[in-house]
């Protein structure tokens, strides 16, 4: 094993090892006796590899909507505003129609009053055939006889 480690180390320092060979070298160094300097140095490298950042970055907290979500949101806003506009228009038309009906009824009522007042004279017509009731003509005639 020691010879294998030496051969791999030489190759490593020549810059001719592959990543797999370097991995094998690290494994062999863990098992072999001696090579204290190399062991410590490669241990330092593995410790360095374990260094990790801890803070959470601001960009990740921010989440923007995707394109389709943005399009859907805009469409939804338009639909809501459209619906509100149509509803408002409908209410206004209803109110307008109601006012017109009320106005028409008021006019009819006014005209009806006007019509009935002109017919007031007709009310006296009921006395036309009541001469006999007002004057006892029959009795008067009999007396004359």
């Amino acid at each position: 094993m020691e010879e294998q480690v030496r051969a791999l180390l030489d190759k490593y320092f020549e810059g001719k090892t592959s990543l797999e060979e370097e991995k094998l070298l690290m494994e062999l160094l863990r098992k072999v006796e001696g090579f204290e300097g190399e062991k410590m140095f490669f241990l330092g490298l593995s410790e360095f590899k374990r260094e990790e950042p801890t803070k959470k970055p601001a960009p990740k907290a921010e989440r923007s909507l995707g394109l389709w979500q943005r399009v859907a949101a805009v469409v939804l806003v338009f639909l809501v505003f459209g619906w509100l506009f149509i509803e408002q228009q409908r209410r206004m038309e209803e109110e307008e129609a109601y006012e017109k009906v009320v106005e028409a009824l008021a006019m009819i009522q006014k005209n009806m009053k006007k019509g009935t007042s002109s017919l007031q004279v007709m009310d006296d017509m009921k006395y036309l055939n009541t001469t006999n009731d007002l004057f006892n003509i029959k009795e008067i005639k009999e007396e004359e006889k």
């Binding site: 020691e2 810059g15 001696g34 410590m40 490298l45 410790e47 950042p53 803070k55």
Partner: protein
């Protein structure tokens, strides 16, 4: 479904953090540098998605943020000491094991490019092609610089009197 930012840029976070830690020697500063870079990436996420090499762009932004922090620290130190710019020492408050200290000691004396390539290969386990993409250089440059860095490592371990010692 994950967005491009979550799936691609976010997954680089740990590697970028370790690169910044190597430059800044401070976990807090490294986190801040990566955080700032991620915020920049978030602001430009649409353009980033269209880029040919977003990884390279991210590494560049983190490096710039780290350099800015180093300049700020050094300006403060220069004002204090009135001396030449000092080497960035390991933050005294940092809890670092002797093994990791040894790694930092070795990396400190390497040229910047060799440091980055060595880290991306030995710590992150990237292929030559991936390192080339990260640093926006050719694979040949990666191989040459890695070879030089490992040669220096051999000398470093020999100087320490530990190289190949078995008993």
């Amino acid at each position: 479904m994950k967005t491009f930012f979550e799936a691609y840029i976010w997954s680089l976070r740990s590697k970028l953090y370790r690169m910044a830690y190597l430059w800044l020697k401070s976990r807090d500063e490294a986190e801040d540098a990566v955080q700032e870079a991620l915020e920049k990436a978030w602001a430009q996420r649409d353009q980033l998605q269209k880029m040919e090499n977003p990884t390279g762009w991210m590494v560049r932004v983190v490096r710039n943020q780290s350099l800015q922090k180093l300049r700020e620290q050094r300006r403060w130190m220069v004002l204090e000491t009135q001396d030449d710019l000092p080497e960035m020492p390991m933050d005294a408050a940092e809890d670092v094991s002797p093994a990791l200290k040894m790694v930092f000691k070795f990396l400190k004396d390497l040229p910047e490019k060799q440091q980055e390539i060595f880290q991306l290969r030995e710590v992150e386990g990237l292929t030559y092609e991936e390192i080339a993409e990260y640093l926006e250089i050719s694979t040949e440059q990666v191989k040459v610089n890695l070879f030089r860095a490992r040669k220096r490592l051999k000398s470093f371990l020999q100087e320490k009197g530990n190289y190949g010692r078995t008993g």
